[in-house]
Symmetry: C2
Subunit: 335 residues, 2 copies
DNA sequence: CTTCCTATTGACAACGCTGAAGTACGTGCT
DNA sequence: AGCACGTACTTCAGCGTTGTCAATAGGAAG
């Protein structure tokens, strides 16, 4: 009743275990006849490789660690799902690691959980490039989203392009006083690709950003954070005709704060998010957002990882995804 | 620069590799002095166990497969997160498997991905007890939620109690015509613990359920499904003063449909969900829901699994969780 | 018919760890 | 003094797979 091993298959196919192994791993030098006989034997005894054995012998574990900050934020959950499915399509199993914010745990992250994985795909929360500072990873690592550091293969989200598109969309529809519910940054002011995109669009209209309309939540992408920040802005009596959330989660939080204050969306103010999470389609009103080409990003990440596993390129690669506007009712035309 | 092995540690501690192994696994028969010496050596060389080696030798892989239908549904994502963290606290790594609906993939599920896991925690989507039909799992499996089959260790959600509580809550606040946005069942009519709880509460008020107020979505727990079902009910011109979603996702979908039809929540109709997902707190208005005691459920599941891994009980165990109402604005008092 | 080459397959030794089965050294008892 | 026993370790043999390298067979070349 024991699980069949290579030896069992070999006995049936009347070859050596090693030959079975070779056939299974698509090695050259195996006659068509042998190959077929082996494959039949495999099916006959219901053989499935023992990953532990393979990993020990140096054949790789077939396991990839996907590291996300959490799963309760829809963006990460949806991203993790896409990655897991894409990896599964390549025959790779996923170990999911939740990298909570503690540094100690971080340390363990790349060490322990990740230890038996052939490679890692990491979705950074903060700009945790320093995470890798000093420690050269001993296996392929792909960074998914976040700011590229030039140290790792990175899939870059089309944030600049995307934010430029939403900003332009708001300006096109007559909005002029754009509030930003943003993430806190070391500098205390918005920065990064996102902000650049915003500035570029403003510039096209000959406008300047208004610092009094920018707020940052305590944590950069939770609904509660958006709620909190928006409440603060409203309490300050700010005047605006549009609110841009740094992402959907923050926008959803802001939405609740806005409604609690009697601000009508989109009549009194337009509202936009970023990420195109499932949730955005079902808010009331449905949320205008930006879709970051999830599929392309995931494909690129998996491809980069597999290249690297195969001993590919030695300089860090970068894939820049595009992004496009998904206009919905929350940014409908003002009265 | 190779990763240190037991032997390296042993050399430093001046004991045999096996003793190091014993100390690390908290085996009896190791003097305090030796234990300490080994631990220091472990720290000194930065040893971390090689899971593959341990798994091969029969010590278990320290890996648990968590199987969920998907991650884009907040309930599953949040549940997966809780499970992963709880397992990590026990030193167990999680392999996350997305069991999409195909039967073929299911087959592979318990075979492949799961193959190198010491145990499995499965969150059933449909009542997939038949999933296990015939195939006796060769490793501990805990069923998380869903209908208990008596075949597996099961954590049962407090659905009956929970639905009884919401129903009573609605009746208490004067609602009488309760619409049900439910899941499709083989019988074509609502069933299970949830429905029983609903009936019990109605009964307490001397009321009968109204079949014309029950609709089922195409898929049992997606927002789109709730939207679709609710739209149908509205189109049919049904009259109701409350809508109960079978879970939060469905309720969120129904909410959008209701608002699109100009139904005011809670003035014209109350709305309730089930699961207490993060999302429910941020809908407009915030959604009344039922909290299934997530922590207790997760703890029970992990405990059951670990008991079983330790060769515990041989008859399937069952843990029935409780649930309590989380009243919010969506079921505020009608005008 | 012999020799050499190549395609194909096999034998063997790891990989890092653990269970089983020792060995060695007290201790307490008769 | 002799014996049984418990503690504290060690030795040994794999677990299932793969890389290395040797071995074999079958054919082409001489």
């Amino acid at each position: 009743m024991k699980r069949p091993t290579l030896e069992d298959v070999a006995a049936v196919a009347r070859v050596s275990p090693k030959t079975v192994s070779n056939v299974l791993r698509d090695r050259p030098y195996a006659s068509e006849a042998t190959r077929e006989r082996v494959l039949q034997a495999v099916a006959a005894v219901g053989y499935r490789v023992n990953r532990a054995g393979r990993a020990l012998a140096g054949g790789g574990s077939g396991r990839i660690a996907v590291v996300v900050p959490n799963l309760h934020q829809p963006y990460y959950a949806e991203t993790a799902e896409r990655l897991i499915l894409a990896l599964a399509a390549e025959g790779l199993t996923t170990t999911l690691r939740i990298a909570s914010d503690r540094d100690a745990e971080r340390e363990a992250a790349l060490g322990d959980t990740t230890a038996d994985a052939d490679g890692v795909i990491i979705c950074p929360h903060h700009l945790d490039a320093e995470l890798l500072e000093g420690k050269t990873p001993d296996r392929p690592v792909v960074q998914f989203g976040g700011l590229p550091t030039g140290l790792l293969d990175t899939v870059v989200m089309g944030q600049r392009e995307g934010f430029k598109a939403v900003t332009r969309h708001l300006l096109d529809t007559g909005r002029r006083r754009l509030a930003l519910v943003w993430n806190a940054t070391p500098s205390g002011r918005p920065d990064g690709d996102r902000f650049d995109g915003f500035l570029e669009a403003l510039d096209e209209f000959g406008l300047e950003p208004d610092p009094t309309l920018m707020v940052a939540g305590s944590d950069w992408d939770r609904r509660a954070s958006g709620y909190e920040a928006m409440t603060g802005l409203l309490a300050a009596g700010a005047e605006f005709d549009a609110v841009m959330g740094v992402n959907d989660a923050v926008a959803v939080g802001a939405l609740r704060a806005l409604r609690a204050h009697g601000v009508r969306i989109p009549e009194d103010a337009a509202l936009t998010g970023f990420d195109d999470t499932d949730e955005a389609e079902f808010t009331v009103p449905p949320l205008t957002t930006v879709s970051p080409e999830h599929e392309a990003m995931v494909d690129a990440a998996v491809r980069m990882l597999i290249d690297r596993l195969g001993g590919g390129a030695d300089t860090p690669q970068e894939y820049r995804a595009r992004a496009h506007l998904i206009p919905r009712a929350s940014s409908g035309v003002a009265r």
